[in-house]
Symmetry: C2
Subunit: 118 residues, 2 copies
Amino acid sequence: MAPKPTLERLSTEAFIAGVKFDAGGLVPAVAQDADDGRVLMLAWMNDESLRRTLTSREVTYWSRSRTNLWRKGESSGHTQHLVEAWLDCDGDTILLKVKQNGPACHTGAPTCFFRRME
Amino acid sequence: MAPKPTLERLSTEAFIAGVKFDAGGLVPAVAQDADDGRVLMLAWMNDESLRRTLTSREVTYWSRSRTNLWRKGESSGHTQHLVEAWLDCDGDTILLKVKQNGPACHTGAPTCFFRRME
């Protein structure tokens, strides 16, 4: 059996180069609270939003409904500050550990995941 | 300001009815380790894989590359047992808290997210 991969460290450029955007030029990004590990939301990034996020550390997504760049919290003030960025094994998903300022969800809930199957 | 939503509890059928599948009939599912909170992977589900997951509690995805149902661990033995299923505010992402049996990643890594930007 192949040895388990250990942590791999990537430069910003290597990280961006490793992302496999989908046919629409987007990649899903999962935001996780860096403090308590809670999964906050999933949103989408294009190349430009990814670059802005990694360089400015202010998390910026691509809004598929409004078709524009969307700096999280730009209207609500509920920003996400990037703490760590992780890329998955095949490069088609990003995991962002963030410092969440206020609630993550537009409903006012701390996380977008507040509906549970019983 | 509207009151914050509290926890909403959904039956299995209400959960499935609440999912907004994309144009290809798929929804992204984020798997998180129920014990340590680590985000393990993101994969995709169609209606059938979601139903199987919620009723059998053995996590089953839809493989976009092989275009078939894929019970996680069916060949490797590294199964995922569903502990909790959560739906996000707008119904287009699922969060699965799972009991992961062995490594989650096909590389042998505990999680698919082992590459970090420095």
